[in-house]
Amino acid sequence: CQPDKLDPKPEILFSDQVVFSSPARIELQANNMYAYVKSGTFLGGRFQIYNDIRANDFINLRSNGVTGTGVWNHTLTETSQNDVINTWGAGYQAINQINVFLDGLDANESKFIAPTFPANYAAKASNYRGEGRLLRALCYYSLLQLYARPYVDGNGSKPGLPLRLNGQKDDKGNDLARSSVGDVYKQILEDLDFAEKNLPLNNGSATLNVTRAHRNTAIALKTRVYLSMAKYDDVIREANKLVPAVGPFVAPTGVPNALNASVAAVFTGTQETTESILSFPFTSQDQPGTQNQAAYYYLPQNGGGNGEYSLNSGAGGILSNAAWAATDARRTSFVLVSGTESYLKKYPTGAPAPYTDKAPVIRYAEVMLNLAEARARTTSGVDPQALLLLNAVRGRSNAAGVYTAAGLTSATALVDAILLERRIEFLGEGIRNIDIMRLNAPIPGKGSISAVNPTDMNYVWPIPFTELATNKLMTRN
């Protein structure tokens, strides 16, 4: 008998005792937080896809339950695996990886000393904490958009999510009640405020400035979060940190995030212009996974995708909206007509695989339109800065189509113009359904699918049965 043979050491797995033993291993874990958030079933693809196809700009062509048919036609149940169960699971898997890492940074602080660690490692550790908190906020924010009522419905009083803020490593603590929507948003903002204070101003390279969080990332996300809460003054305060009063629209601090001259360029090549504040990268070794890739869903089969969804050419769809001119760069660059259907070509990397388009999270144009909308909603009449921002985004793709104050006439018309612009600008980026629901508005119908009213059961997704079965304090939607 050889006792040591009873403890064979795995060759491709690390013991949890050694993962904080060097700066390099900690850096690998920091990368990992992003890797989990950009899971193909979460913000690496499906989350964005679901938030587009729930609304009315896309038509489902494949009737395939695996690729979102149930999402598209609002027939999800608490046992729906690919969407209801998997999205929830992927979101919380990411949250726990982040929490375990954050706990580990605190627990191992005493190890961060020379000579293994550089003398200024405490600052580096704070950067990591900032990244962790930012990503955690992004996860909770994303899950709220599908599994909870909008903030404006009851001013945050409706049931939100179980707030897990500590790393889970053992079999304790299954039961945790839902915090209110308001409390979850409060935590999200607390995390983002922390991130803003602790993140570096600049990550040092174009790639890292797009794929890792920096201070502007935290601020930009805050503008989205406050907009979702209809806290427009806060949107304005945060957005003002990044958006100058007049053009050129370049962030005055940190990474010089800016509105790129060409929207097409934002989605070509490496997709690393300064307009992209946060996008998740893929490589051939790190693919979104089968049936998670945006290009697979939106490109037709002869364009390298699978033609899962075409653009809705029917009434109500953005394709048939007169405000989207035929000469609009977003139409000429991003709409591909194949046969009788029109498809979205924003993610150009179809065949041959491996679908390495970055998954967009937030870009500078959104911060501008967030600010524009917040200003429009808090000013009577046509807010001139809001109009300027709206036209900056619209005009770069459709110079002839810019709005005039006279043409818009009222604050409501301005807001409507901004919302319409957001549909065109962010088509296929997972913003559309969030824009509808944050206003507690009906989700429009399409084809044979009826509209979903805010009072309908299926306005928000059901809580997965896997959670209900294991967490006794969990409640249904």
Binding site: S15, T79, I95, N99, A351, P354
Partner: protein, 1007 residues
């Protein structure tokens, strides 16, 4: 005192005896022993009478053998002969119905998929319930080992079934405890053939076979398809209109396209074929006084009923035993084989039942009005999907490309194969130190290399990867096993017989696998991994290592062969557990009542010739199927874009320990009418404790895989087994033997990780029909109760838990209450479902009839099973109202003139009313069946004729496997198990292919 000798090859012997000796006892395995008084004879010749009871047959038990007469444990034996001619890939596939207590299910009709073996029920939930398979003393690898989901590879197929002498199935604690930690699912001991002293034997066996599919679903032809689907669109528009919505869907299903091309395709014709298989085995064996040997070569080439499904094996074996000195002998067993498996993607293996390319599903789903080929002979394709043909998408008005593959492209260009190369064997030495004390050492290896390949042509590609793809995986399983035993046999006063075994065993297993996926073929010219592709991604990398160390002992005692007792103990250390060591034991008693004087002298003794009563109790463990590093907290490395990562990959459990089974068994063996009727009966009770289960973690905790293994939960299997053999008629010319066995099983889950827990087991990751709950049998089906079709409006009616009957109007009013027509919440499987079960058969067995008339022999073998329910998910797909084709009975759908219909009013895109989106009771059926598994008719050429041409024996035969099936089950095959060997996922039929019917003609000849 006594002394003895054995005869030479010709049966001659010499023995010097002391003058006090009075008698000689002659004995031989399988014959009645005979006592002859010596008197003053110097030559004593005897002829022994064949023993018909089988009581003196030798049963292989752990680390030794025992006469069945002295056995107190529960052991079923199957001889190699019984399975030798079955046209199977691995021997375990042929064990169906052959042994009581052993239930074997063929989960699908793909060649070389591992059968699901359950000895006395499921014995675990998370770990393997399969038995430990030991080949000539060396534990074998079992279970599907292919890295490519489409093609199964059962490593047991590396053993040529023709080389098997016997298979002994250890069932109760007494028999299995010597295997301690690996014995919870029972043990199958396989012994390969040996040469016999003084005999020289050469034999050649061959068969050829043809296989065909049976019981394929009858699906709609083009005309009916178009009728039904357009009617469905019409009904959808009506539903839309009824809620004031636009009703603009196009009745776009057509018989002829714009160019006048039409098709009425029976897709089965492109997927199934008549398979052809052949097998050849040549062996020669023999022996001298000192050395015996058996050697063989075998070749089999089997082409299945599914296009591209094939199995080949080339094997060779050499078994040698050599006596170096009179008290010291050595032995060697070595088998080498190459196997080749290839299979298209049938969706029947590898948890892929919902795959859009699965050939179980494709022929029943594809529209029949699509043609496989264009008029110019090219395959009908649109990208990786089949072309639109004449169909217009009702929703968009454009050509309807449906996103499913064209199987002819798949079959012509894609390739999935798994090749195996195995060397398995051992060397051993036996030393009889003093009389009765034998020391033995055996060192064995079992090394298998697997090369698994998948290739997707860029002409078809995969739906998710249209650029073509080549995947290669290489895996090695390496095992060494070293056993040392000491056995001491001693008798006192001729009545007290002791046999003591002490031993030690160490086993080291290492598994490595690496592989990669290449995509984006440079040119369709390349059809192998080595060609040029634009990307390469590592895939399937795996490393495993485990070590088992054991100390064990066994004491057998019998008094005058009347009172029998056996005690086994074993202490095992296993690397995968946090608590390394476990102690296991088994004890049994036996009483041969018919050996008592009062019985022998009784009047009924002539009629009631044998009665033996046995009982056993013991505790065994289970480590089969546990991951090597699962008790550790580990991190693994991955990618974030171009950078590496390190992630928390497993939450371990520092208290993880052995899963334990407490087995008890009471049995009796009996013989009537001079043993013309023989049988045995036993009652078993197996309490599995400390079940290793994933203690369910709330998904919101985000624990990796949402699981932490813990020793929680318990389960009980109880039942009875009965074996009977009746020599109904025995005469020089005519001989008729009937034998049968039946086993009952009652499985109850006694506790799970948490109170009220429902443990779901999903099918293909998309549907969950099986739920395991305390008080039920494992994996029962949870389905909402369907009350059929509402004659008033053709809507499916579902009874909810609160008593409300809801009906479904697709894309119209949705779910409404039948009573008042008002909207009601959709029925939900979890709140409104009721359990149907068990999914495990409550009884099963086999029934074998052998007739022999002169040279002719006729065998009829029936396998039966029942008491279980099946979730027929395939049936729900067959009535789905998306563009999918339907089974012909959809014609009996509700219309205004056919209100008493079997199926609801068809509404285009409705996948609820048929059960695709909601597990409902109308798709749950009973699974009782009796299968005429084998019919064989043989003719043995008469001896006098053979002797003239110096042939020892010759037989030709014809045989039909799966000749008939008697069942009320409406699906393709009641044996289907889409979830394979999953303990809690039995009884699901989802898009799997059924078993073939095989006709074989065989011939064997011996010299």
């Amino acid at each position: 005192g006594s002394q003895g000798t054995s005869t030479d090859a010709d049966g001659k012997y010499t023995l010097s005896v002391p003058e006090t000796a009075k008698a000689l006892v002659f004995s031989f395995v399988g014959y009645d022993s005979k006592e002859v008084a010596i008197g003053d004879q110097s030559t004593i010749n005897v002829t022994l009478k064949v023993n018909t009871t089988g009581l003196d047959e030798v049963v292989v038990v752990g680390y030794g053998t025992q006469a069945r007469r002295d056995l107190t444990g529960s052991v079923a034996s199957v001889s190699g002969k019984q399975i030798a001619t079955a046209p199977v890939q691995s021997f375990d596939q042929a064990l169906q119905g052959r042994a009581s207590g052993v239930n074997i299910t063929t989960p699908n009709g793909v060649l070389n998929n591992p059968p699901v073996i359950r000895i006395r029920g499921v014995n675990s939930i998370s770990l393997s319930s399969g038995p430990l398979i030991v080949i000539d003393g060396i534990p074998a690898f079992s279970g599907n080992s292919s890295a490519v989901g489409s093609v199964p590879n059962n490593p047991l197929s590396n053993l040529n079934p023709a080389d098997i002498e016997s298979m002994d199935v250890l069932k109760d604690a007494s028999a299995t405890a010597i295997y301690g930690s690996r014995a919870a699912g029972g043990v199958i001991l396989v012994t390969t053939k040996k040469g016999r002293r003084g005999q020289s034997h050469l034999s050649y066996d061959t068969w050829v076979g043809w296989s065909k599919p049976v019981r394929l679903y009858e699906v709609l032809g083009a005309q009916d398809y178009v009728t039904i689907k357009n009617e469905a669109v019409r009904n959808l528009n009506a539903n839309r209109k009824s809620v004031g919505a636009a009703a603009t869907n196009v009745e776009g299903f057509k018989l002829t396209d714009a160019n006048g091309v039409s098709a009425d395709t029976r897709w089965y014709d492109y997927i199934y074929r008549t398979g052809f298989a052949q097998s050849h085995n040549l062996n020669f064996s023999g022996g001298t006084e000192k050395t015996t040997f058996y050697s063989s070569v075998g070749y089999t080439d089997q082409k299945g009923m599914i296009v591209n499904n094939a199995f080949q094996r080339v094997s060779a074996r050499l078994n040698v035993d050599h006596k170096v000195f009179s008290n010291f002998s050595v032995g060697m067993r070595v088998g080498y084989s190459n196997t080749h498996n290839s299979s298209p993607n049938t969706g029947s293996v590898g948890d892929n039942s919902f795959g859009s390319a699965g050939l179980g599903r494709v022929p029943i789903l594809l529209p029949p009005n699509l043609a496989p080929y264009n008029p110019d002979g090219t395959p009908n394709a649109s990208g990786p999907s089949i072309g639109a043909g004449p169909n217009i998408n009702p929703a968009t008005g454009g050509p309807f490309v449906i996103g499913f593959i064209n199987p002819v492209v798949d079959l012509a260009g894609n390739r999935f194969n798994s090749d195996g190369s195995e060397i398995q064997g051992s060397v051993s030495a036996d030393w009889e130190v003093i009389k009765g004390l034998n020391l033995r050492t055996q060192y064995g290896i079992n090394n298998i290399a697997f090369e698994d390949q998948a290739f997707y042509t860029s002409l078809a590609g995969t739906l998710s990867n249209p650029g073509g793809e080549a995947d290669n995986y290489y895996r090695t399983n390496k095992r060494t096993n070293w056993q040392n035993t000491a056995q001491y046999d001693r008798s006192f006063n001729e009545k007290h017989n002791f046999s003591l075994l002490l031993g030690n065993e160490q086993q080291t297993t290492n598994v490595q696998r690496w592989g990669a996926v290449r995509t984006g073929v440079a040119d369709p010219f390349f059809t192998t991994f080595q060609g040029n592709f634009t990307t390469i991604t590592p895939s399937g990398n795996f490393q495993g290592a485990n070590y088992l160390v054991s100390f064990f002992g066994r004491l057998n005692y019998n008094f005058d062969r009347k009172y029998l007792a056996t005690v086994n103990v074993r202490r095992d250390g296993y690397s995968a557990f946090a608590k390394k060591y476990g102690n296991f034991y088994g004890a049994s008693l036996g009483y041969v009542v018919s050996e008592e004087g009062f019985w022998k002298n009784a009047a009924f003794a002539q009629a009631f010739s044998l009665l033996k009563i046995t009982g056993s109790f013991g505790k065994v463990g289970n480590n089969q199927g546990i991951d090597d590093f699962v008790s550790l907290n580990t991190y693994a490395s991955g990618f974030y874009g171009a950078n590496s990562t390190l992630y928390f990959s497993n939450a371990g459990n520092p208290n993880l320990a052995w899963e334990v089974s407490r087995k008890s068994d009471i049995g009796a063996s009996f013989g009537f009418l001079q043993d013309r009727l023989r049988g045995d009966f036993s009652y078993y009770n197996n309490l599995v404790d400390g079940l290793i289960l994933s203690v369910p973690q709330a998904p919101s905790k985000g624990i990796p895989l949402d699981r932490i293994l813990g020793n929680v939960g318990s389960m009980r299997n109880t039942g009875v087994e009965l074996n009977l053999t009746y020599n109904a008629f025995q005469d020089k010319a005519f001989n008729w033997t009937v034998s049968g066995n039946v086993t009952t099983l009652k499985n109850r889950v006694l506790s799970l990780a948490t109170e009220g827990q429902r443990l779901p087991t999903s099918t293909g990751g998309l549907e969950t029909a099986n739920f395991t709950q305390v008080g039920n049998s494992a994996g029962q089906i949870l389905a909402v109760k369907s009350l059929g079709v509402n004659p008033a409006n053709g809507q499916r009616m579902i009874q909810k838990a609160d008593g409300t009957v809801a009906q479904y109007n697709h894309s119209g009013l949705g779910w409404t209450n039948v009573a008042d027509g008002k909207p009601t919440a959709a029925p939900n499987q979890l709140t409104d479902g009721v359990y149907y079960g068990p999914v495990l058969p409550t009884f099963y067995g086999g029934f074998d009839n052998t007739f022999r008339y002169k040279g002719l022999d006729l065998g009829l073998f029936v396998q039966f099973s029942g008491g279980n329910y099946i979730y027929n998910g395939t049936k729900s797909g067959l009535h789905d109202q998306r563009f999918w084709n339907n089974e012909v009975d959809i014609m009996d759908r509700w219309t205004e003139t056919n209100t008493n219909a079997k199926w609801p009013r068809v509404v285009y895109t409705d996948n609820v009313s048929n059960g695709s989106a909601l597990v409902m009771s109308s798709n749950v059926e009973k699974g009782d069946f009796a299968r005429l598994r084998q019919v064989s008719l043989g003719y043995s050429i008469a001896q006098p004729l053979l002797e003239r041409v110096k042939v020892a024996n010759a037989r030709i035969y014809v045989q039909v496997q799966n000749a008939a099936l008697l069942t009320k089950y409406s699906g393709i095959d009641p044996e289907i198990s889409t979830n394979g060997a999953n303990n809690t996922g039995a009884g699901v039929d989802r898009n799997s292919v059924g078993q073939a019917r095989t006709y074989t003609v065989g011939f064997n000849i011996g010299f």
